[in-house]
């Protein structure tokens, strides 16, 4: 580009300010959306990459292939003793383990819950946490040492050196004093290793289930020098699981596999749907950028006609086609660079909002962003500039100069532009449909009937802490029940939002063993009325029937216990109806007689199927359960009152209570966040599309001024002209629907397939998005069409 080319670009931008703003602004918004969503994708796919040697670390995962069973699918946890058995069978195994849990730090008689983990003595050799004080090599050697994060150090030892000082911790119900042996830098947000206190794994471990295959206790982390080494061990896993697991689990071990997965991939697996979310938002980012590029091409080619004379003059003055191509490509690159700069500014301004909407902590790392952005500008400029450059440089100079009219790319150019508008609006409409479906789904899961009355339920999880004694629990429940507004109190070992549970197989007479697997929930008095669970057949357990209480099943030999199952349990056990299940006994070694059937209750994520469930009744608790209260009025007041009671009864255990809705929120958060980010991306994509349509309409109208004049002299009214101009843009928008509908249908069906409880893909979403797109398109071009239709024909005819 020579000086004159630069000058003419500068003057052209200044002279056509609106065009420049639309072009640069549209591209800048596209780049900003792409940038922010790239940051998000990079963040989500970059977990554990901060860890030195992360590419050599793998996690042993359990996979239960038991469709229909509550245990079906992946678990990142393995049994505690897996690494020991691996070392016995494969002596060159390098690995460690870590068991995460909450622990209470006791200080001045009250306790605070902190994230805590037991790690093996060699943990820091393999997972090299950033140690800032203390001796990393020996920190986890002694059983009474702890390693703490900088935040913990500041919180509990402000203004002093924590090394060598004592901390009192309660973990797994046991309180002990520990010596601070080291401090590590706070771990970054992109990690699943979110611990703030580490202590050495007890050896031997007191857990009776430590060597129980299929249990999920610890993360077993393995280190391999090469991916081939990992693959080699993976090949030996089937035989290893069969050999070792069969001793413990019997033939059902066939359903269990061990999978060695790179540690960096674990994050995307831990929450159902996360992989899909990241992929979806990545695609939204790329497509939005594509829409913006299409926009640029559209506007540039539309304007090409207006620059025909300039091009012709340059040719007459001796510019070759290659020079012109270079000039226009150079222009596109410069505009792309300006847009990239604008995009960067927009992204920086928009990030706080995006972070708030998505619950994220994204920030721009300029060392990565700037070169990336330069490359992006190069690619975008090249992509966006090539077609207009070739088109413009092709104009025949003599014909353009001799003719009073300006070529605009002719019929072919118009067709390409119309196709681009179709493409742009197809994506925009698909985005709109997607947004509507996402919103409908996130609303649905919040408002749908989950099988229990979720409003007015308060769940106290502190009562499940191992340090709480039975007298403390009894006292707490009695005082809680007496609080004003509390209608009923109950306990259960599973409640909305607590995703860990037990399951067992029950043989059904006349069917192959071991039979279907059902989730077991132990409940106490008032459980069913407190939750509002609907009885659909039979009766609920009570104290009048001795066999109703599972604590009475203590005699020699199998005792028949009365149980209640849910509707899904009826289906899993193969009964034809809830009534047909009544009085039937299932389980050969663990016989259970079904006395009642209740409606399905969705305690867990809407993505997971409702488990077939068996409710065991206990008038008094054998395990220490969570407590649930049904309250009237403001639950916050009840929680405050409960906290006060708790402090008097069990001050050594931190108080934690939430409403059922707050607990369930955890399941909705990821999808809510996706919906918001998707909505923002889609909204901006639609906006860019509109900017493009507006720009295109404006240039097309300008090009057709003379035609409009002719039509008016022939008697066309203003309404005829508006119809003509608006109709011209409605056609591509209508065609865009033909592309958008199947696209959105396939994408949304795949998205919804991730939910067990989902909305159906109503045609209304599609029709609604189409109407919206049409309305937006009409509004976008209406103003200009009206103005054009009102212009005096005599003026229009003089116009060229």
């Amino acid at each position: 580009m020579n000086r004159f080319a630069l000058l003419s670009l500068y003057r052209s931008l200044v002279r056509h300010k609106l065009y420049a703003a639309l072009n640069i602004g549209g591209l800048a918004v596209g780049i900003a959306v792409f940038l922010v969503l790239s940051l998000y994708v990079r963040f989500e796919t970059g977990y554990e990459k901060w860890l030195p040697g992360h590419d050599r670390l793998y996690l042993a995962e359990e996979y239960w292939d038991m469709p229909g069973s509550p245990a079906n699918g992946y678990s990142t946890g393995t049994m505690g003793g897996l690494i020991d058995q691996l070392r016995e069978d494969f002596p060159d195994t390098v690995g460690t383990r870590i068991q995460a849990m909450d622990a209470n730090v006791v200080r001045g008689g009250t306790a605070t819950s902190e994230t805590f983990a037991y790690a093996d003595a060699n943990f820091l050799d393999i997972v090299r946490l950033p140690i800032v004080a203390g001796d990393a090599a020996r920190a986890l050697q002694a059983p009474d040492n702890v390693l703490i994060s900088e935040t913990i150090a500041k919180r509990y030892f402000p203004g002093t050196n924590p090394i060598g000082q004592t901390m009192t911790l309660t973990a797994i119900g046991k309180t002990a004093n520990y010596r601070v042996a080291g401090i590590f830098r706070d771990l970054p947000p992109d990690t699943e290793l979110s611990y703030s206190i580490l202590a050495k794994t007890p050896n031997p471990h007191p857990d009776k289930m430590w060597f129980h295959w299929g249990s999920s206790r610890v993360w077993t982390i393995l280190r391999f020098d090469t991916p081939q080494d990992a693959a080699r061990l993976q090949e030996k896993m089937r035989a290893f699981v069969d050999r070792r697991g069969a001793k413990d689990q019997g033939p059902s071990i066939k359903n269990l596999s061990l999978k060695i997965t790179p540690l960096t991939q674990i994050h995307l697996q831990t929450t159902p749907g996360r992989k899909m979310t990241v992929a979806t938002l990545g695609i939204v980012g790329v497509l939005t950028l594509l829409i913006a590029i299409v926009n640029y091409v559209n506007l540039a080619t539309a304007r090409a006609g207006l620059r025909a004379r300039e091009v012709a003059m340059r040719k007459v003055l001796g510019a070759g086609r290659d020079v012109l191509v270079r000039q226009f490509l150079g222009e596109a690159l410069l505009v792309a660079l300006l847009s990239a700069l604008g995009g960067l500014i927009l992204a920086e301004l928009g990030l706080p909002m995006i972070n708030a909407a998505g619950g994220l902590t994204l920030s721009l790392d300029y060392a990565v962003v700037l070169p990336g952005l330069a490359l992006l500008a190069l690619v975008v400029g090249g992509l966006a500039g090539l077609y207009p450059a070739l088109l413009l440089s092709r104009f025949p100079a003599a014909a353009v100069l001799a003719s009073s009219r300006s070529p605009g790319g002719g019929r072919a150019g118009a067709r390409v532009r119309e196709m681009l508008v179709v493409f742009q609006f197809a994506l925009a409409i698909a985005f709109m449909i997607g947004t509507v479906v996402l919103i409908a789904q996130t609303r649905h899961v919040r408002n749908t009937d989950v099988g229990f009355r979720r409003d007015g339920l308060v769940i106290v999880s502190s009562t499940a802490d191992g340090a709480v004694t039975e007298p403390q629990l009894t006292a707490f429940m009695a005082r809680a029940a007496a609080l004003p507004g509390v209608r009923s109190v109950t306990t259960s070992d599973s409640s909305p939002g607590s995703s860990s549970f037990n399951s067992d197989s029950y043989a059904v007479p006349g069917k192959p063993e071991p039979g279907p697997s059902l989730q077991a929930i132990i409940v106490s008095s008032n459980f069913f009325p407190t939750f509002g669970l609907k009885l659909i057949a039979g009766r609920l357990p009570d104290d009048a029937h001795r066999a109703d209480d599972s604590r009475n099943a203590t005699g020699p030999g199998p005792n028949v216990i009365n149980v209640v199952i849910n509707r899904e349990g009826v289906r899993a056990l193969g009964f034809s109806s809830p009534e047909a299940a009544l009085g039937k006994t299932v389980g050969r070694t663990n016989p259970r007689m079904i006395i009642g059937v209740v409606e399905n209750a969705r305690f867990f994520s809407p993505r997971d199927p409702v488990n077939p469930t068996m409710y065991y009744y206990q008038s008094r608790f054998s395990t220490i359960p969570r407590t649930t209260l049904r309250v009237e009025g403001d639950p916050r007041e009840t929680i405050a009152a409960l906290r006060a009671i708790w402090r008097q009864i069990a001050p050594q255990v931190p108080f934690e209570a939430k409403t059922a809705n707050q607990n369930m929120d955890e399941y909705y958060k990821v999808d809510d966040r996706t919906t918001r980010l998707f909505g923002i991306g889609a909204g901006l994509a639609v906006l860019i599309g509109c900017v493009g349509l507006w720009g295109l309409a404006s240039f097309n109208t300008q090009r057709r001024v003379k035609e409009i004049g002719i039509r008016k002299t022939l008697g066309a009214s203003a309404t005829d002209i508006v119809k003509l101009l608006v109709g011209q843009f409605l056609r591509p928008v209508l065609i865009a629907n033909l592309v958008a509908w199947p696209l959105a249908y396939v994408a949304m069906r795949a998205w919804l397939a991730g939910f067990d409880d989902r909305v159906s893909l109503s045609p209304l979403y599609f029709a609604g998005a189409t109407m919206l797109a049409l309305a937006i398109a009409v509004l976008t071009v209406l103003g200009q069409s009206l103005r054009a239709s009102r212009a005096a024909p005599a003026w229009a005819l003089r116009h060229d």
């Binding site: 002719i710 039509r711 002299t713 022939l714 008697g715 203003a718 005599a794």
Partner: protein, 225 residues
């Protein structure tokens, strides 16, 4: 048929006021062929545009038959143009994206029910000898052919008044003659024509000629028969 009384047309831009027409009084009878002459910028085209209602006078009265056009709204004027007028321009003003046939049919597009549209379009093209080019686009035709197509478009609706703005201005002599002969034929068949021209020889085809200068009619003469 047409009576202009004290027609004025002023253009006001930022700081300059230009008067294109000063108190024009003009009467055009039905069946007349009137030529308007004068140097560039004298107001010929403005007068023609005013007659064609595509430009509105800033003063005076424009009576067409017994209708006062100054009192009409945009919508009525559009209908008036569609039903009553035919335009022929120097630069043809055919729509590039439409074929000749479609361009001619455009002359009926904004009228209500006109009966056999196809037949009328074919007849109009026939009348000016352009029927064999019906499927072509304007840029595939010579200037003379384009102007004949434009005339076909002007006459397809049987207008009471044909307004021609330098219809031969962009044509060579032979094509110019051809176009003039078509106009004369139309006039002989009863059409009223008002034509702006620079060419004295073409003005001689008209039954009456007026000369303009600086927005005024300075001379009016009947052709000697």
């Amino acid at each position: 048929m047409i009576r202009l009384e004290g027609i004025q047309r002023r253009y006001v831009s930022d700081e300059v006021e230009t008067t294109a027409l000063h108190d024009i009084d003009l009467h055009v009878a039905a069946g007349e062929f009137l030529a308007i002459m004068g140097p560039s910028g004298c107001g010929k085209s403005t007068l023609l545009n005013t007659l064609g209602t595509v430009d509105r006078p800033t003063g005076g009265r424009y009576l067409f038959g017994d209708r006062d056009l100054a009192a009409m709204g945009e919508k009525e004027l559009a209908r008036f143009r569609a039903e009553t007028l035919g335009f022929v321009f120097q630069s043809f003003n055919l729509i590039d994206e439409l074929t000749i046939e479609e361009n001619v049919a455009l002359g009926l597009a904004y009228r209500g029910d006109v009966g056999d549209r196809r037949g009328r379009v074919a007849a109009a093209m026939d009348k000016v000898g352009i029927a064999h080019r019906a499927r072509h686009f304007p840029h595939q035709l010579s200037g003379g052919q384009q102007q004949r197509a434009a005339i076909a478009r002007a006459i397809v609706g049987d207008p009471k008044l044909i307004l021609a703005d330098e219809p031969t201005g962009n044509l060579d002599t032979a094509n110019g003659e051809q176009v003039m002969n078509i106009l004369i034929g139309l006039n002989d068949a009863g059409a009223t024509i008002v034509m702006v021209t620079h060419s004295p020889s073409h003005a001689d085809f008209a039954k009456r000629r007026i000369d303009m200068l600086d927005g005024r009619i300075v001379a009016s003469a009947m052709r000697a028969i």
